[in-house]
């Protein structure tokens, strides 16, 4: 029900006038040019739009340059073609078979391929396409070899025939609309923000409880489902299936549609497909060179407008008709805090090459404690924090938390267990608003495309951290002091029992440090356990009742600040020969 309500808001309010006008032209156009060829082109555009909508899941939203979408499309075409020619199957069977067949291939390749880095992922997916093409050409008894399978029957649906021209066009575009609505539900609003966080700041996304591996898997699967379905439509439209559908040209076409239309915009996939399918017609005067123009358009787009046509339109609209930011949402209740737990680290070690960054550390932090961690650069502070938060895997040792050993667990699971963190170099999505940066971290809790609840929850945290004024400002425009606070607000989204902060006061003015220390003291007083790495003793002393000093991966002092700062070992290792200063920056 909320999904339907949400959809209505989207259709009525969020879509801009230009887009509706464009859609009206598109719908009217086949009526104006009512000849068989025009209808055929328009049907073709719908088929490519569906495949491109699928491609957006993996390339646009998950940010992985897959070159397998053409293979999913072609495989779908072959499955549908073979089933309908050899077994007389109707569309009610060939469509799901093609979509599921392609998704099965995606699931099979996902395991080895998805963890590869970008250029390897691109090649591996390209290779899979080539293997499928090779099989199609050489497995003649099934695929018809290089000539393919001619005479694919007209599309039949539950016994009735859907003929060429208008019937096929309506069927194809109904599926495009259905596909677009599904894509909107899966990737719109809050989900879109969370996916953007995952693309641009993967470490921060994992630290916000987002399981990137699972999402990339789902994205590849969805892209294959859409691609396979589009392939089934293709084979029933062109009525033959041949290795041509598997050639690299198809993949390039889908890539071009997505880049030109807009990588994450649903309207972009549709506009891109209609444009690119018709582009050769408009470039016909160029004769043999018209395909060159198509490459030139793609190149110009990548260079001049990487956000695509839809993105360019949005930018133009914001430039000429700037919108006043809406009033910030009312603040929702603060997230429920995980039950307090004791952190107990035993013999934790991590080596980089020959250097022991963390060398057999034992450390216990009681629930509700507030601990400052000091030490020279390279003494192992960040490595220790990273291992507790799951960003790095210990070589050996235990990290006990809430009754289990969390050492080596992925970051998103540690976040879900109630341990949150901030980063030394702030990891925010620069062009996204402060409010949405925080709300995106609440995706797991609020899910779905509707942003309302997550934004209200985020607003509560912004109030807590005195950030309410900045709610709609893009993070990229904030001074360092405010960025630190946004990071902390985001870390608090999951209601952590333990908060790990990595140099939260670095780059802050004296006044900002004072305020931040006050905020942290208040958080601690409300029950959140703190472990804060910093160089500024004066800052730490304002809220930490206990200080730990690291040197060369070991704890050399542990106790109340007044004791630790006079410890001769600490003075020698960290403060050097000079007497302790208030704001010792090392």
């Amino acid at each position: 029900m909320t999904a339907i309500l949400h959809m209505r808001t989207w259709l009525v309010r969020d879509l801009n006038i230009l887009l509706l006008a464009g859609a009206a032209v598109l719908v009217a156009w086949p009526f104006v040019a009512d000849d068989a060829y025009a209808l055929r082109l328009f049907t073709q555009a719908g088929i490519y739009a569906l495949a491109a909508l699928g491609y957006q899941f993996v390339f646009g939203h998950a940010g992985a340059l897959s070159l397998a979408q053409g293979a999913f499309f072609g495989l779908g075409a072959y499955i549908a073609g073979i089933l309908s020619v050899r077994f007389g199957a109707g569309f009610e069977l060939t469509l799901p078979a093609a979509a599921i067949g392609a998704a099965t291939l995606a699931a099979l390749i996902a395991l080895p391929v998805l963890r590869l880095r970008s250029h390897y992922f691109a090649l591996a997916t390209l290779g899979i396409g080539q293997v499928i093409l090779l099989i199609a050409i050489n497995w003649e008894s099934v695929t018809g070899g290089a000539n393919g399978i001619p005479n694919v029957p007209a599309l039949s649906l539950f016994g009735g025939t859907v003929g060429r021209g208008w019937p096929m066009l309506v069927l194809v575009w109904s599926l495009v609309v259905a596909g677009a609505l599904c894509a909107r539900l899966l990737t719109g609003g809050l989900s879109g923000a969370a996916l953007q966080l995952m693309r641009e700041q993967p470490m921060a996304a994992e630290a916000s409880g987002i399981d990137i591996g699972r999402i990339r898997f789902a994205a590849l699967l969805l892209s294959a489902l859409y691609g396979g379905a589009a392939g089934a439509l293709q084979v029933h439209t062109v009525r033959v299936v041949s290795p041509e559908v598997l050639e690299f040209q198809v993949m390039v076409m889908l890539l071009a549609i997505t880049v030109i239309g807009g990588r994450t915009s649903i309207a972009g996939a549709i506009v891109g497909a209609v444009l690119l399918i018709h582009l050769p017609e408009w470039f016909r005067p160029l004769e043999r060179y018209y395909l060159m123009a198509y490459g030139a358009v793609l190149l110009a787009m990548v260079v001049a407008a990487p956000w695509g046509l839809m993105g360019a339109m949005r930018r133009a609209r914001l430039h000429w008709l700037p919108e006043a930011p809406p009033p910030p949402p009312s603040a929702g209740p603060l997230p429920a805090r995980h039950p307090p737990a004791r952190l107990e680290i035993a013999d934790l070690t991590r080596q980089f090459g020959g250097v022991r960054a963390v060398d057999g550390i034992d450390l216990a932090v009681a629930p509700g404690e507030s601990v400052g961690v000091i030490g020279a650069n390279g003494s192992g502070k960040t490595t220790l924090l990273n291992m507790i938060a799951g960003a790095e895997t210990p070589d050996s040792g235990q990290i006990l938390w809430a009754g289990g050993d969390i050492a080596g667990l992925p970051a998103y699971r540690i976040q879900r267990a109630g341990i949150a963190r901030s980063f030394q170099m702030s990891k925010l999505v620069e062009e996204m608003s402060v409010l949405d940066n925080v709300a995106a971290a609440a995706w797991r809790e609020f899910g779905g495309p509707d942003q309302g609840d997550a934004r209200r929850a985020a607003m509560g945290l912004l109030d807590l951290l005195e950030l309410a004024e900045t709610a709609w400002r893009p993070c990229g425009a904030l001074p360092p002091g405010l960025r630190r606070r946004v990071e902390i607000a985001r870390a608090l989204v999951g209601g952590p029992a333990l908060l790990l902060l990595d140099e939260p006061a670095a780059g802050l003015t004296a006044g900002e440090r004072e305020r931040l220390a006050g905020t942290l003291a208040a958080l601690n007083a409300a029950g959140t356990t703190l472990v804060v790495v910093d160089h500024d003793l004066g800052f730490l002393e304002k809220f930490a009742a206990r200080l730990i000093c690291l040197d060369q991966g070991r704890i050399i002092a542990d106790g109340p600040p007044a004791v630790v700062r006079r410890d001769p070992g600490v003075v020698a290792a960290w403060l050097g020969q000079a007497p302790a200063k208030e704001a010792g920056h090392g």
Partner: protein, 290 residues
């Protein structure tokens, strides 16, 4: 066919592929970006040789420097159009811009020359030589010698000249190179020129024995890409070894089984390497930036 005979063919094909892969790695190291148009530059070089041979009826060996120089100019244009405006964007932007450039090159060649396979003149004459009972095509021999000379020449340029040191410094760390006063932009442009010249040379060498069509570029880039991944991302020596391995599959394995099986096995081997040893057979280059 005799095994030795096959080995000679593999070596000749591998030598030409090595030139393609080498250009790919040069650009990769200088920019951290994949130049997907590298294969289409090979096709362009082949057709350039075909066209020049129509005007100047001289052996391929004399055309080679001309093709290399003209292709170097094309390389500069590639750099200016598809790389330079995107230098501060994620590497995937260049991947896509060079795919677009590949489309332009492919269809430009198709418009100029048509889709028919064409052959460039042989390097120094056709016919066969008999060496110790082994019949070797003169062209195969010439390919090996020319490719080896080019590779050795490139190596000494990179390792024994001031210019080479600057090029390598740019590839290792662009910020540091710039801080040291190296004109980084000029070095990157030069890298593109060198890579395109190598691709052009490979085009001329391949376009005699194997003919050439405008759409051949996709095959070449896929092979170079595979060679570089197998040999270790960013590793120059690894790219040469990878190119030889790809050629071995296409000649020896193809003769033992058939071409489709050999290609399938090559992709199978590639996927296995990606899964089991993603750093390539010889490890990724030190200080890689991709």
């Amino acid at each position: 066919m005799d095994f030795l005979q096959l080995a000679v063919n593999a070596l000749a094909l591998g030598a030409a592929y090595a030139l393609v892969a080498l250009g790919f790695v040069l650009i990769l190291n200088a920019t951290a970006a994949v130049n997907f148009a590298q294969g289409d530059l090979v096709a362009a070089g082949g057709f350039l040789a075909v066209a020049l041979a129509g005007i100047l009826p001289v052996p391929g060996l004399l055309l080679l420097p001309l093709v290399a120089v003209l292709m170097a100019a094309v390389g500069l244009a590639v750099c200016a159009v598809a790389y330079w405006p995107l230098r501060d964007r994620p590497p995937v932007a260049v991947f896509i811009s060079t795919i677009a450039l590949g489309i332009i090159l492919q269809n430009g060649l198709n418009g100029l020359f048509g889709a028919e396979p064409r052959a460039a003149p042989p390097l120094s004459g056709s016919g066969h030589l008999e060496i110790g009972g082994l019949v070797v095509a003169r062209q195969s021999l010439a390919i090996m010698v020319v490719a080896a000379l080019l590779i050795v020449g490139l190596r000494s340029l990179l390792w024994h000249t001031q210019l080479g040191r600057r090029l390598r410094a740019t590839g290792q760390d662009r910020e540091v190179a710039a801080a040291l006063g190296i004109p980084v932009g000029a070095m990157v442009a030069l890298t593109f020129a060198l890579a395109a010249a190598l691709a052009g040379a490979a085009g001329l060498l391949l376009a005699n024995q194997f003919f050439i069509t405008p759409t051949h570029g996709t095959d070449f880039i896929v092979k170079a890409y595979i060679a570089v991944v197998i040999g270790g991302w960013g590793r120059v020596g690894g790219a040469l070894a990878g190119a030889m391995l790809v050629a071995l599959f296409e000649t020896v394995v193809a003769a033992l089984a058939d071409y489709a099986v050999a290609t399938g096995l090559l992709y199978g081997a590639l996927l296995a390497i990606l899964v089991l040893r993603p750093q390539g057979l010889f490890g990724e280059a030190e200080g890689r930036r991709a």
